[in-house]
């Protein structure tokens, strides 16, 4: 007997599984108790994201986005060169003096600009999906992560994110990343320090208009 069979035999000895029960659970994927939220989604998202040390801007119109991003970077003396998700189109970065390249992120990129599949009001979290035009490392390697989030894509809870994922993509992509503020560690003396191995800062720019490419990955 190989290890697979040995382990499964040991497990089965103690189990009485009913395939019907399991098939139903997987098909219906019932929700557990959900948190109540009294505020509207935008207010809740802004408040929770700020609590997790994300810098939240907007809602802005699409035209205002490049200026807001450039100002955010300049106010902090950060470089205005950036790498962006190829999915993000139609922004006039050049007019505000920014140089933005569409490609996969490299180790020396200082600023990464992404969209988000959706945003979760419950915790102030971004839900990012990896894909051909939405690489995972853009929100990870650079020290500054700028995320453009249409307010129409703010959902209440993580469960709403799963529903959107099933509806729009069926199966999950290689990586679904929930991002809640800058990377951090409290390993040394349980003192929270922002900026561990991922970004030191996360700037969330809320966008009032519908802009193609920032919310749903365009499958290439």
């Amino acid at each position: 007997m190989n290890s697979r069979e040995t382990i499964l035999a040991r497990v089965r000895r103690a189990r009485t599984s009913s395939d019907a029960v399991i098939a139903t659970r997987l098909r219906e994927h019932p929700r557990g108790p959900l948190p109540n939220m009294s505020e509207d989604l935008l207010t809740r998202f802004r408040e929770r994201a700020a609590r997790l040390a994300s810098d939240v801007q907007g809602p802005l119109s699409a035209e205002q986005v490049p200026t807001a991003v450039a100002n955010y970077l300049r106010e902090r003396s950060l470089p205005v060169r950036a790498v962006r998700w190829p999915s993000i189109g139609s922004f006039e970065w050049g007019t505000v003096g920014m140089s933005v390249e569409a490609r996969a992120a490299r180790a020396d990129d200082m600023v990464g600009i992404t969209g988000a599949f959706c945003a979760i009001a419950e915790t102030g979290t971004l839900m990012l999906l990896s894909g051909a035009d939405t690489p995972a490392a853009t929100s990870l390697l650079p020290e500054t992560h700028v995320a453009l989030v249409p307010i129409s894509r703010i959902v209440a809870r993580m469960e709403d994110g799963w529903d959107l994922l099933r509806m729009e993509h069926g199966l999950p992509p290689r990586a679904v990343n929930f991002v809640s503020g800058p990377s951090r560690t409290a390993d040394i003396e349980q003192t929270v320090t922002l900026g561990a191995h991922g970004p030191y800062r996360v700037c969330i720019v809320l966008v009032a208009d519908a802009v193609t490419g920032i919310a749903r990955p365009v499958v290439g």
């Binding site: 948190p35 990343n177 191995h197």
Partner: protein, 468 residues
Amino acid sequence: MKLSSAQFKHTARKNLHDVRLQQALHRLQERFVGARAAALTDIDDLPRLRAAATEIRQHALTHLDVYLEQFERQVVASGGQVHWARDAAEVNRILLELAARYQVRKVAKSKSMVSEECGINEMLAANGIEVIETDLGEYILQLAREPPSHIVAPVVHKNKEDIADLFVRHHHRPRTTEIAELCREAREMLRPHFLSADMGISGANFLVAETGSALIVTNEGNGRLVTTLPRVHVAITGIEKVVPTLEDVSVLLRLLTRSATGQSITNYVSVLTGHKRASDLDGPEHFHVILVDNGRSQLLGTELEAMLRCIRCGACMNHCPVYQNIGGHAYGWVYPGPMGSVLTPNLVGLSEARDLPNASTFCGACAEVCPVSIPLPDLLRHLRVRQLEQGLRPRRERGSLRVWAWFAQHPRAYAWASRLAARLLRAVANRRGMIRRLPLAGGWTDGRDFPAPSGRTFRDLYARRTSS
């Protein structure tokens, strides 16, 4: 990881007198206990959420075989491969095969307690493969050549001065004790390793049967880096970690992060499904999951099955008066605190860890804070019974229990003996009603006085009340 649970008493005594360790443990207790309590006020109906989390974990265990097979099918469907390992030796054999198959020379690891169980770092190093721990705490421990002392905060026993000294020795940079600077230094030292590693090894907080995903919960971002940049990703985790659906994960996450660090959610929650897709710009080309048994399946269907519900939040140790005073190293293996006192004897053998089931006052704090309602004191009590049955307790202890059992079964003798004892103890007490030194109870009276009984037994008082 080397097993040293047999030295429990010795290490515990030493640690009680280690001033810096005591300060560190006090800080841990202050931060984690308070943060958890504050974070849970955010939950509207905690008992209901806890019941739901418990049901999910128990349901998954009740149907574990079917969920594991479902998980495997989904992993294969997304282009990955599942390996089954009966024990640590098999985990190591599988890893070595994978390393050979993909010509791996360097491995970057994120924190995984199961990998500590299996001692994979030593094995890989012995085979000429460089292994870098990338979680800040685990990296510090790798430099110091020490085992973790907490499952969430592995380096809780060190202070910033210790870490500064360690970094000077290994990084040859100017010494700093600024925590932010130390973190920056570690980031700069580790970044090149993420970029040059051939294989990334992670654990998994949960496996999702519905989608074949491995889910990891991290704050530093190293977990994302080791599962995104290297060519090969291997997730190593226990067979009990499977849950049915993504919705189930959401329920468990709400309790896991609040119970562990007091966060409403960790910085990153990554749901990883298969390898890089054809048109993806990044991600590993190969995705493997190693499902580890290593003694877990023998708990199924026994009085200890509930232990397999554990989601490794660490709340039981943060709240344990024994852990709070002796720290994690005294427990002598990967898992400290109450959950470790149940798991270790089961995974390494009861005779190897005979003090652990007794490292509890049975105050019940662990069971009270457990997000998946594991009755830890009951499980420890069960292990104590098993120890006695297997003759693993000292002869004097067994003898005393036998004497006590005889009296307990002979009510008249019991009444007589307890009346005698109560009067005797009363007679030897000082004027404040305290006893300074008591034969056979040195463990108590060495550290504090023993309060003497009033001289009358409960039976005496009860008889008088009912007659008047």
